[in-house]
Protein backbone atom coordinates (compact mmCIF):
# COMPACT_ATOMS: atom_id res chain seq x y z
CA UNK A 1 0.00 0.00 0.00
CA UNK A 2 1.48 3.35 -1.03
CA UNK A 3 1.60 6.33 1.26
CA UNK A 4 -1.08 7.85 -0.90
CA UNK A 5 -3.57 5.06 -0.57
CA UNK A 6 -3.22 5.41 3.14
CA UNK A 7 -4.27 9.02 2.65
CA UNK A 8 -7.47 7.96 0.87
CA UNK A 9 -10.11 10.35 1.99
CA UNK A 10 -7.37 12.81 2.90
CA UNK A 11 -5.75 15.54 0.88
CA UNK A 12 -2.90 16.00 -1.59
CA UNK A 13 -0.77 19.13 -1.51
CA UNK A 14 -0.45 20.13 -5.17
CA UNK A 15 2.09 22.75 -6.24
CA UNK A 16 1.02 24.16 -9.61
CA UNK A 17 2.99 26.55 -11.82
CA UNK A 18 1.23 29.90 -12.19
CA UNK A 19 2.46 32.46 -14.69
CA UNK A 20 4.35 32.16 -17.96
CA UNK A 21 8.14 32.25 -18.45
CA UNK A 22 8.33 33.83 -15.02
CA UNK A 23 5.95 32.83 -12.29
CA UNK A 24 5.81 30.75 -9.15
CA UNK A 25 4.41 27.52 -7.79
CA UNK A 26 1.18 27.88 -5.82
CA UNK A 27 0.03 25.14 -3.52
CA UNK A 28 -3.56 23.86 -3.48
CA UNK A 29 -5.11 21.23 -1.29
CA UNK A 30 -7.07 18.68 -3.29
CA UNK A 31 -9.20 15.84 -1.84
CA UNK A 32 -7.76 12.39 -2.31
CA UNK A 33 -9.84 10.03 -4.44
CA UNK A 34 -9.45 6.42 -5.50
CA UNK A 35 -8.02 5.98 -9.04
CA UNK A 36 -7.50 9.73 -9.33
CA UNK A 37 -5.44 10.93 -12.29
CA UNK A 38 -3.17 13.96 -12.35
CA UNK A 39 -5.60 15.53 -14.84
CA UNK A 40 -8.42 14.98 -12.31
CA UNK A 41 -6.38 16.91 -9.78
CA UNK A 42 -5.76 19.83 -12.16
CA UNK A 43 -9.42 19.85 -13.19
CA UNK A 44 -10.50 19.93 -9.53
CA UNK A 45 -8.26 22.93 -8.88
CA UNK A 46 -9.62 24.77 -11.92
CA UNK A 47 -13.29 23.99 -11.27
CA UNK A 48 -13.40 24.30 -7.51
CA UNK A 49 -10.45 26.26 -6.18
CA UNK A 50 -9.26 28.69 -8.84
CA UNK A 51 -11.07 29.14 -12.17
CA UNK A 52 -8.25 31.34 -13.52
CA UNK A 53 -5.96 28.30 -13.84
CA UNK A 54 -5.20 27.57 -17.51
CA UNK A 55 -4.42 24.09 -18.81
CA UNK A 56 -5.15 22.01 -21.88
CA UNK A 57 -6.97 18.73 -22.32
CA UNK A 58 -9.50 17.16 -24.66
CA UNK A 59 -10.16 13.42 -24.74
CA UNK A 60 -9.21 12.38 -21.16
CA UNK A 61 -8.44 8.84 -22.38
CA UNK A 62 -4.90 8.97 -23.81
CA UNK A 63 -5.76 9.48 -27.46
CA UNK A 64 -5.49 13.18 -28.28
CA UNK A 65 -2.11 14.07 -26.76
CA UNK A 66 -3.29 17.43 -25.37
CA UNK A 67 -2.78 17.13 -21.64
CA UNK A 68 0.96 16.49 -21.26
CA UNK A 69 2.58 18.34 -18.37
CA UNK A 70 5.63 18.06 -16.14
CA UNK A 71 4.62 15.99 -13.13
CA UNK A 72 7.10 15.80 -10.25
CA UNK A 73 9.85 16.80 -12.67
CA UNK A 74 9.04 14.39 -15.49
CA UNK A 75 6.96 14.88 -18.64
CA UNK A 76 3.82 12.73 -18.61
CA UNK A 77 0.36 12.42 -20.11
CA UNK A 78 -1.71 13.54 -17.15
CA UNK A 79 -5.00 11.89 -18.14
CA UNK A 80 -3.55 8.42 -17.81
CA UNK A 81 -1.14 9.02 -14.97
CA UNK A 82 -2.63 7.89 -11.70
CA UNK A 83 -1.68 10.09 -8.78
CA UNK A 84 -0.86 6.97 -6.79
CA UNK A 85 1.86 6.09 -9.33
CA UNK A 86 3.78 9.34 -9.19
CA UNK A 87 3.18 10.68 -5.72
CA UNK A 88 4.48 8.71 -2.80
CA UNK A 89 4.57 11.34 -0.09
CA UNK A 90 1.24 13.09 -0.58
CA UNK A 91 2.83 15.88 -2.65
CA UNK A 92 2.53 16.67 -6.33
CA UNK A 93 4.31 19.31 -8.38
CA UNK A 94 2.77 20.11 -11.75
CA UNK A 95 4.41 22.40 -14.29
CA UNK A 96 4.01 23.03 -18.02
CA UNK A 97 6.01 20.90 -20.48
CA UNK A 98 9.69 21.77 -20.65
CA UNK A 99 11.54 22.92 -23.81
CA UNK A 100 8.51 24.92 -24.99
CA UNK A 101 7.37 28.50 -24.39
CA UNK A 102 4.71 28.79 -21.70
CA UNK A 103 1.50 30.56 -22.71
CA UNK A 104 0.00 30.62 -19.23
CA UNK A 105 0.13 28.35 -16.20
CA UNK A 106 0.12 24.73 -17.44
CA UNK A 107 -0.50 25.51 -21.12
CA UNK A 108 2.69 25.32 -23.17
CA UNK A 109 2.88 26.70 -26.70
CA UNK A 110 3.29 23.68 -28.98
CA UNK A 111 3.90 25.75 -32.14
CA UNK A 112 7.70 25.16 -32.14
CA UNK A 113 7.05 21.41 -31.77
CA UNK A 114 4.68 21.25 -34.75
CA UNK A 115 6.91 23.59 -36.78
CA UNK A 116 9.56 20.88 -36.48
CA UNK A 117 7.10 18.28 -37.83
CA UNK A 118 6.71 20.49 -40.91
CA UNK A 119 10.49 21.03 -41.14
CA UNK A 120 11.09 17.26 -40.95
CA UNK A 121 8.64 16.88 -43.84
CA UNK A 122 6.27 14.76 -41.79
CA UNK A 123 3.73 14.86 -44.60
CA UNK A 124 2.58 11.87 -46.62
CA UNK A 125 3.26 12.25 -50.36
CA UNK A 126 0.62 10.24 -52.17
CA UNK A 127 1.41 8.21 -55.27
CA UNK A 128 -2.12 7.21 -56.26
CA UNK A 129 -5.37 9.01 -56.80
CA UNK A 130 -8.61 7.82 -55.24
CA UNK A 131 -9.63 6.49 -58.66
CA UNK A 132 -6.87 3.89 -58.48
CA UNK A 133 -7.09 0.69 -56.45
CA UNK A 134 -5.75 0.63 -52.89
CA UNK A 135 -2.08 -0.26 -52.48
CA UNK A 136 -1.54 -3.82 -51.29
CA UNK A 137 0.87 -3.67 -48.34
CA UNK A 138 1.96 -6.88 -46.70
CA UNK A 139 1.66 -6.42 -42.90
CA UNK A 140 4.61 -8.75 -42.31
CA UNK A 141 7.01 -6.98 -44.68
CA UNK A 142 10.02 -5.47 -42.84
CA UNK A 143 9.25 -1.97 -44.13
CA UNK A 144 5.65 -2.10 -42.91
CA UNK A 145 6.75 -3.51 -39.54
CA UNK A 146 9.11 -0.54 -39.17
CA UNK A 147 6.18 1.79 -39.91
CA UNK A 148 3.91 -0.03 -37.46
CA UNK A 149 6.51 0.28 -34.70
CA UNK A 150 6.38 4.06 -34.89
CA UNK A 151 2.97 4.94 -36.24
CA UNK A 152 0.95 5.30 -33.03
CA UNK A 153 2.39 8.68 -32.00
CA UNK A 154 -0.27 10.92 -30.45
CA UNK A 155 1.78 14.11 -30.80
CA UNK A 156 1.77 14.89 -27.08
CA UNK A 157 5.30 16.44 -27.09
CA UNK A 158 6.36 14.44 -24.02
CA UNK A 159 9.46 13.26 -25.94
CA UNK A 160 10.21 16.84 -26.98
CA UNK A 161 10.12 17.90 -23.34
CA UNK A 162 12.23 14.91 -22.24
CA UNK A 163 14.94 15.32 -24.91
CA UNK A 164 18.33 16.70 -23.83
CA UNK A 165 19.28 17.58 -27.41
CA UNK A 166 16.12 19.69 -27.82
CA UNK A 167 17.08 21.48 -24.60
CA UNK A 168 20.58 22.21 -25.95
CA UNK A 169 19.62 23.07 -29.49
CA UNK A 170 16.14 24.48 -30.18
CA UNK A 171 16.71 23.95 -33.93
CA UNK A 172 16.95 20.17 -33.46
CA UNK A 173 14.07 18.50 -35.28
CA UNK A 174 13.27 16.41 -32.21
CA UNK A 175 12.21 12.82 -31.53
CA UNK A 176 8.55 12.88 -32.64
CA UNK A 177 9.07 14.61 -36.03
CA UNK A 178 12.02 12.33 -36.81
CA UNK A 179 9.99 9.28 -35.76
CA UNK A 180 7.24 10.46 -38.11
CA UNK A 181 9.77 10.92 -40.92
CA UNK A 182 11.00 7.34 -40.36
CA UNK A 183 7.45 5.95 -40.73
CA UNK A 184 7.12 7.80 -44.05
CA UNK A 185 10.55 6.68 -45.29
CA UNK A 186 9.35 3.09 -44.79
CA UNK A 187 5.89 3.62 -46.24
CA UNK A 188 5.88 2.00 -49.68
CA UNK A 189 2.92 4.17 -50.67
CA UNK A 190 4.87 7.40 -50.09
CA UNK A 191 6.27 8.99 -53.23
CA UNK A 192 9.12 11.07 -51.82
CA UNK A 193 11.45 8.85 -49.80
CA UNK A 194 14.52 10.87 -50.74
CA UNK A 195 12.71 14.11 -49.95
CA UNK A 196 12.06 12.82 -46.43
CA UNK A 197 15.69 11.76 -46.04
CA UNK A 198 16.95 15.12 -47.33
CA UNK A 199 14.67 16.92 -44.86
CA UNK A 200 16.20 15.11 -41.87
CA UNK A 201 19.82 15.07 -43.13
CA UNK A 202 20.28 18.71 -42.15
CA UNK A 203 22.35 20.64 -39.66
CA UNK A 204 20.17 19.86 -36.63
CA UNK A 205 18.50 16.76 -38.04
CA UNK A 206 18.80 13.07 -37.25
CA UNK A 207 22.60 13.25 -36.84
CA UNK A 208 22.24 15.54 -33.83
CA UNK A 209 20.59 12.74 -31.77
CA UNK A 210 22.80 11.40 -28.98
CA UNK A 211 20.73 8.25 -28.43
CA UNK A 212 20.12 9.13 -24.76
CA UNK A 213 16.74 7.38 -25.16
CA UNK A 214 14.94 9.80 -22.90
CA UNK A 215 12.21 9.96 -25.56
CA UNK A 216 11.79 6.20 -25.51
CA UNK A 217 11.68 5.96 -21.73
CA UNK A 218 9.08 8.74 -21.44
CA UNK A 219 6.86 8.04 -24.45
CA UNK A 220 3.42 7.34 -22.96
CA UNK A 221 2.42 5.01 -25.79
CA UNK A 222 5.67 3.06 -25.62
CA UNK A 223 7.22 4.13 -28.93
CA UNK A 224 10.97 4.21 -29.40
CA UNK A 225 11.87 7.34 -31.41
CA UNK A 226 15.57 6.69 -30.75
CA UNK A 227 15.32 3.49 -32.77
CA UNK A 228 13.57 5.36 -35.58
CA UNK A 229 16.30 8.02 -35.56
CA UNK A 230 18.99 5.33 -35.74
CA UNK A 231 17.12 3.95 -38.76
CA UNK A 232 17.12 7.40 -40.35
CA UNK A 233 20.85 7.80 -39.73
CA UNK A 234 21.49 4.47 -41.46
CA UNK A 235 19.17 5.25 -44.38
CA UNK A 236 20.74 8.71 -44.84
CA UNK A 237 24.24 7.18 -44.72
CA UNK A 238 23.41 4.66 -47.43
CA UNK A 239 21.61 7.24 -49.59
CA UNK A 240 24.57 9.63 -49.29
CA UNK A 241 27.06 6.96 -50.36
CA UNK A 242 24.85 6.07 -53.31
CA UNK A 243 24.91 9.74 -54.34
CA UNK A 244 21.15 10.07 -53.91
CA UNK A 245 21.31 13.00 -51.48
Amino acid sequence: MSALESLDGGEIAVAIWRGAATGRFETYRVPQRANQTVLDVVTYVQRVLDPTLSYRFACRVGVCGSCAMTVNGEPRWTCRTHVSRVCSDGRLEIAPLANLPVIKDLAADLAPFFDQWAAAKGRFTPTRTKAEPLAAVRPDSPARQAVDAGIECIGCAVCHAACDVVAWNPDYLGPAPLNRAWTLVNDVRDGDRLGHLAAVAVDAGCHACHSHQSCASHCPVGLNPTRSIVGLKRAVFVAALRGEL
Partner: protein
Amino acid sequence: MSGRLELWLFVLQRLTAMLLAPLVLLHLATIIYAVRGGLTAAEILGRTRGSLLWGGLYGLFVLAAALHGAIGLRIVLREMAPINRRGSDLLAVVFLLLALLLGFRAVGALT
Protein backbone atom coordinates in the same frame (compact mmCIF):
# COMPACT_ATOMS: atom_id res chain seq x y z
CA MET B 1 24.94 24.19 -47.62
CA SER B 2 25.63 23.69 -43.96
CA GLY B 3 23.30 20.69 -44.03
CA ARG B 4 25.38 19.02 -46.76
CA LEU B 5 28.57 19.60 -44.78
CA GLU B 6 26.97 18.04 -41.69
CA LEU B 7 25.80 15.09 -43.76
CA TRP B 8 29.23 14.38 -45.20
CA LEU B 9 30.97 14.88 -41.87
CA PHE B 10 28.55 12.31 -40.44
CA VAL B 11 29.28 9.90 -43.28
CA LEU B 12 33.01 10.42 -42.80
CA GLN B 13 32.71 9.83 -39.07
CA ARG B 14 30.81 6.59 -39.66
CA LEU B 15 33.33 5.37 -42.24
CA THR B 16 36.25 6.16 -39.93
CA ALA B 17 34.43 4.36 -37.10
CA MET B 18 34.18 1.28 -39.32
CA LEU B 19 37.94 1.47 -39.85
CA LEU B 20 38.70 2.17 -36.19
CA ALA B 21 36.75 -0.79 -34.79
CA PRO B 22 38.98 -3.52 -36.29
CA LEU B 23 42.12 -1.37 -35.92
CA VAL B 24 41.52 -0.88 -32.17
CA LEU B 25 40.98 -4.63 -31.75
CA LEU B 26 44.16 -5.33 -33.71
CA HIS B 27 46.03 -2.77 -31.60
CA LEU B 28 44.78 -4.37 -28.34
CA ALA B 29 45.66 -7.85 -29.56
CA THR B 30 49.12 -6.62 -30.54
CA ILE B 31 49.62 -5.06 -27.09
CA ILE B 32 48.65 -8.30 -25.36
CA TYR B 33 50.94 -10.25 -27.67
CA ALA B 34 53.83 -7.78 -27.37
CA VAL B 35 53.96 -7.57 -23.57
CA ARG B 36 54.37 -11.31 -23.16
CA GLY B 37 57.82 -11.85 -21.66
CA GLY B 38 58.52 -8.15 -21.11
CA LEU B 39 58.35 -5.08 -23.25
CA THR B 40 61.39 -3.47 -24.83
CA ALA B 41 61.79 -0.72 -27.39
CA ALA B 42 64.11 -2.97 -29.37
CA GLU B 43 61.45 -5.66 -29.64
CA ILE B 44 58.80 -3.21 -30.82
CA LEU B 45 61.11 -1.55 -33.31
CA GLY B 46 62.23 -4.93 -34.52
CA ARG B 47 58.66 -5.66 -35.48
CA THR B 48 57.75 -2.30 -36.97
CA ARG B 49 60.97 -1.03 -38.59
CA GLY B 50 60.83 -1.21 -42.34
CA SER B 51 57.44 -2.88 -42.25
CA LEU B 52 55.07 -1.51 -44.80
CA LEU B 53 52.21 -3.44 -43.19
CA TRP B 54 52.62 -1.98 -39.68
CA GLY B 55 53.40 1.46 -41.04
CA GLY B 56 50.36 1.33 -43.29
CA LEU B 57 48.05 0.03 -40.57
CA TYR B 58 49.13 2.60 -37.98
CA GLY B 59 49.11 5.35 -40.60
CA LEU B 60 45.51 4.45 -41.39
CA PHE B 61 44.80 4.33 -37.65
CA VAL B 62 46.17 7.84 -37.17
CA LEU B 63 44.22 9.22 -40.12
CA ALA B 64 40.93 7.60 -39.02
CA ALA B 65 41.34 8.56 -35.35
CA ALA B 66 42.25 12.16 -36.15
CA LEU B 67 39.27 12.63 -38.47
CA HIS B 68 36.86 10.74 -36.22
CA GLY B 69 37.97 12.58 -33.10
CA ALA B 70 37.96 16.02 -34.72
CA ILE B 71 34.43 15.61 -36.07
CA GLY B 72 33.18 14.43 -32.68
CA LEU B 73 35.04 17.15 -30.81
CA ARG B 74 33.47 19.79 -33.07
CA ILE B 75 29.98 18.61 -32.06
CA VAL B 76 30.87 18.37 -28.36
CA LEU B 77 32.25 21.92 -28.43
CA ARG B 78 29.23 23.19 -30.30
CA GLU B 79 26.82 21.72 -27.79
CA MET B 80 28.75 22.19 -24.58
CA ALA B 81 31.17 25.11 -24.89
CA PRO B 82 30.22 28.79 -24.87
CA ILE B 83 31.77 29.45 -28.31
CA ASN B 84 30.23 30.07 -31.71
CA ARG B 85 30.26 27.81 -34.76
CA ARG B 86 33.42 29.35 -36.22
CA GLY B 87 35.16 28.79 -32.92
CA SER B 88 34.20 25.11 -32.71
CA ASP B 89 35.13 24.56 -36.39
CA LEU B 90 38.49 26.23 -35.85
CA LEU B 91 39.29 24.24 -32.70
CA ALA B 92 38.32 21.01 -34.43
CA VAL B 93 40.65 21.78 -37.34
CA VAL B 94 43.46 22.60 -34.89
CA PHE B 95 42.83 19.27 -33.14
CA LEU B 96 42.81 17.45 -36.48
CA LEU B 97 46.13 18.96 -37.57
CA LEU B 98 47.74 18.35 -34.18
CA ALA B 99 46.57 14.71 -34.09
CA LEU B 100 47.81 14.15 -37.65
CA LEU B 101 51.17 15.79 -36.89
CA LEU B 102 51.80 13.89 -33.66
CA GLY B 103 50.37 10.65 -35.02
CA PHE B 104 52.39 10.55 -38.23
CA ARG B 105 55.48 11.67 -36.34
CA ALA B 106 55.07 8.60 -34.11
CA VAL B 107 54.40 6.32 -37.08
CA GLY B 108 57.48 7.75 -38.78
CA ALA B 109 59.60 7.02 -35.71
CA LEU B 110 58.40 3.42 -35.56
CA THR B 111 58.88 2.50 -39.20
